[in-house]
Amino acid sequence: MNFPEGLLYSEHDEWVKVDGDVLTLGISDYAQDALGELVHVELPDVGDEIAAGEAVCEVESVKAVAEVYSPVDGEIIAVNEDLDGEEETINTDPYGAGWLVKIRFTDASQLEGMLSVEAYRKKVDEA
């Protein structure tokens, strides 16, 4: 399993990449493997206001569905529309072309509870 450096991870198997006051959100390699081949992604609308801990989108395989949670309060500023019809990109490139949404956030302290790559790998190993 691949867990790149430089990202933050969540207990729910999301990853975020922070760039200034914008973060990119996706699901981890572990999450895509557990779900299996993805066939549907329910994305929010650009401009939606979201709260930390809220589900911002759903990713769905033939056998299961998972909600993807935002770690921060903020606004959706972009969604990955290229996934439409190409949902398996999330399986093949979960940290790159398989990103889900970009969120502009206001309170960086909300990211403090997230896991480092070492802590996340430990969680996955123990799962």
Partner: protein
């Protein structure tokens, strides 16, 4: 309670399967990936361990009488070597289980029942099928069962057996040697909608038969298939799954199983099924869903703002690329062509009632 394992459990682990609990067993849910496994059964051949299913043996001079009383589909005309799909009903006209009856001899039957119902069914058959001269035995742990399914199933199995497979018609079976294991049952039955066989082998020989089948099928691209693809395969051809479309309350007629419910004959529960006929508030309907949202078990069906039913099984059909579901829907809305709405976690999906199986086998 500790989980049970089939004789092939170690093989599943070695093959890299993801193991889940199912009906009290530790079973493989997928190996290489659900879609690939599903497609391989449709296009070539796949191997399923279905040893978790139960076998109840009914033997003796009163065996036929017992089976006729317990099962819905009028078994008397069954010939030795013939199998038949049935339900067992309770006194209220609900379904105890759906099962396949194999006539092994004039006075010898095997009832193949769902894993989840093994203990319930055995108790039921003993309670209601016991007659002087009907001997009822739980053989569930004695048999391993391996399903070989797909257009290359016969070519795969033919390499390993002296049984003349071409002469076995659908829902017929023969006894013979498979992979050097004597006394197997080779039945042209399955739960996928494809051509194929189910091989019953003595439990202690399961690994030999499994390994030989994987080897024999290699040239055709055989894959081991988990419960995930087993479910999508059966749903595409609209086969019921007990606990989803069938249960102790639902009548077989509501579930669309009138074709195996021979009400002109007497069997346990027939009176209640007759009395309920035509009065069901809800009926099972097949739904095709527009767009990409996927219906899942338990979701509400809505019509003009009112909840009119619930989804019992739903998925994205790997073969067809569309959303499909089975649902109990208010009887007046279960007609072909009716448009309904499914509440997908607060979002709407439009569904249409369709006739028959979603997928039909591609004839060679």
């Amino acid at each position: 309670m500790s989980l049970r394992r089939t004789p092939l459990y170690d093989r599943h682990v070695e093959l890299g399967a993801r193991i889940v609990e199912f009906a009290g067993f530790e079973m493989p849910v997928q190996y290489s990936g659900l879609k690939e496994e599903h497609e391989r059964v449709r296009s070539a051949v796949g191997l399923f361990d279905v040893s978790h299913m139960g076998e109840i043996r009914v033997r003796g001079p009163k065996a036929l009488e017992a089976v006729e009383w317990l099962c819905s589909n009028h078994n008397a005309p069954l010939e030795v070597g013939q199998a038949q799909y049935n339900v067992m009903c309770n006194e209220a006209g609900g379904v105890v289980d759906d099962l396949v009856v194999y006539r092994m001899g004039e006075e010898d039957f095997i009832l193949c029942v769902n894993a989840a119902n093994r203990d319930k069914d055995f108790a039921w058959v003993v309670k209601h099928g016991s007659r002087d001269g009907a001997e009822i035995t739980d053989e569930g742990d004695d048999w391993a069962q391996i399903a070989v399914q797909g257009p290359k199933a016969q070519a795969t199995l033919a390499k390993l057996t002296d049984v003349d497979l071409a002469s076995i018609a659908t829902y017929r079976f023969a006894r013979g040697t498979v992979a050097g294991v004597a006394d197997c049952i080779v039945a042209r039955t399955g739960y996928t909608g494809e051509d194929g066989f189910e091989v019953f082998a003595p439990a202690q020989a399961a690994v030999m038969v499994w390994d030989a089948l994987l080897d024999a099928g290699e040239e055709f691209g055989v894959l081991p298939i988990g419960l995930g693809a087993r479910d999508t395969l059966r749903l595409e051809v609209r086969y019921c799954l007990y606990g989803h479309e069938l249960d102790d309350e639902t009548s077989p007629l509501q579930a669309g199983l009138g074709w195996i419910t021979k009400l002109e004959h007497d069997f346990l529960g027939a009176d209640a099924v007759r009395a309920r006929k035509g009065k069901a508030t809800h009926r099972l309907a097949g739904l095709v869903i527009e767009g990409k949202r996927i219906a899942r078990e338990g979701m509400s069906i809505v019509h003009e703002g009112e909840v009119v039913g619930h989804v019992t099984s739903g998925t994205r059909s790997p073969s067809l690329g569309i959303g499909i579901a089975l649902a109990y829907v208010r009887s007046d809305l279960a007609r072909i062509g009716t448009e309904l709405t499914i509440d997908v976690r607060g979002r709407e999906a439009t569904a249409r009632v369709v006739k028959g199986p979603f997928y039909t086998r591609q004839e060679a």
